[in-house]
């Protein structure tokens, strides 16, 4: 079965999630996985839907005021991950290229970033990334991150993600 990948971005306002969800429900699009957040006052939503075509979903979203939407068909992806879950924290003075440098180091060690958030508050830049890392790669990654952190003048920590089941 095909899925739709949809993005909705625009200035945040009350009721925007309701508007998006309603518009999609009206054309039979079923929200499966979705994530929504506010980035400096911008509403940002990405979601996967099933049950509707690209055209129907696009038309349904078109009347929404002030938002930019994209709709595309994607083939069902393998959600399985292999590797061990780790968390990387980076914080320091804001400068160009922190995310790029850290992400490149993670990728070079075979680590896949599965979740990422960054925050700029004042001059403090904070990056938290969750990564899937091949078994046994953490030590080398920690060393390379330390080198990259020193070059960028930021603090970097790598630690195993907590994942107890209760």
């Amino acid at each position: 079965m095909h899925e739709l990948a949809i993005t909705v971005i625009g200035p945040d306002r009350t009721g925007i999630v309701a508007d998006v969800a309603e518009a999609l429900a009206e054309v039979g699009a079923n929200l499966t996985d979705s994530t929504m957040t506010r980035l400096r006052g911008h509403f940002a939503m990405t979601l996967i839907c099933t049950g509707a075509g690209v055209e129907a979903a696009s038309l349904a979203l078109e009347p929404l005021d002030g938002v930019t939407t994209t709709v595309r068909e994607v083939s069902q992806a393998d959600a399985a991950t292999n590797g061990e879950p780790w968390v990387v924290s980076v914080h320091g003075a804001d400068r160009l290229g922190i995310v790029a440098a850290v992400a490149r180091v993670v990728a070079a060690e075979g680590g896949n970033i599965t979740d990422l958030s960054t925050r700029l508050t004042g001059t403090l830049y904070v990056l938290i990334a969750e990564i899937d890392l091949p078994a046994g790669a953490s030590e080398e990654l920690a060393e390379r991150l330390a080198v990259a952190g020193a070059e960028l003048g930021v603090e970097v920590t790598l630690r195993p993600a907590e994942s107890e089941l209760l």
Binding site: V87, S89, D115, R119, T121, G122, V126, I128, T157
Partner: protein, 170 residues
């Protein structure tokens, strides 16, 4: 009794916050003054339940804690200052939200031990102190001991979605 002076609190990114603090001679006059200053600064800072020397720009292992009256506190030891503190026992790990005067705009979910035993020395006398506590006081101790080791809560947050913009109510 040394009179404490309020010192300015430094915020991230400041190098001193990410530097491992040096051990101190708890009987030295500078450390006694610092201890009093930490308490004085903590007192004038609304909502502040702990303050470590690196937060006032001094890279040493000294911190003040006072969780008296905090709704999440169970065991409390009032206001106190410890030097060269180490956690010797930790158990009952639990996630909780915490903030920091040196990271004023963010909070984060951090897993901390709900029960700890800490060994330290007291400023002034230099006497050894062993302190067992739990709940919020245990969390505060771990947060401050982290400061003394050059760590912020940002270095321990649970995941990408475990940091939050602090709401400001004016």
């Amino acid at each position: 009794m040394t009179e404490g002076r309020v010192r300015p609190v430094v915020t991230a990114p400041a190098a001193v916050l990410s530097t491992v603090g040096a051990e101190v001679d708890p009987t030295s006059p500078e450390v006694v003054q610092l201890a009093a200053d930490l308490v004085a600064t903590m007192r004038v800072s609304p909502g502040c339940v702990g303050l470590a020397a690196p937060q006032v720009g001094v890279g040493v292992q000294v911190f003040a804690v006072d969780v008296t009256g905090h709704p999440k506190a169970v065991t409390t030891h009032g206001a106190f200052v410890l030097c060269n503190a180490k956690i010797v026992e930790a158990s009952r790990w639990k996630a909780g939200r915490e903030g920091c005067m040196s990271v004023p705009d963010l909070t984060g979910d951090v897993k901390r031990a709900g029960r700890v035993m800490v060994e330290a020395v007291a400023p002034g006398t230099g006497e050894p102190v062993t302190l067992s506590t739990d709940a919020f006081e245990a969390r505060a101790l771990q947060h401050e001991i982290d400061h003394c080791a050059g760590k912020l809560f940002l270095d321990r947050v649970a995941g990408a979605h475990a940091i939050y913009q602090r709401r400001v109510y004016l």
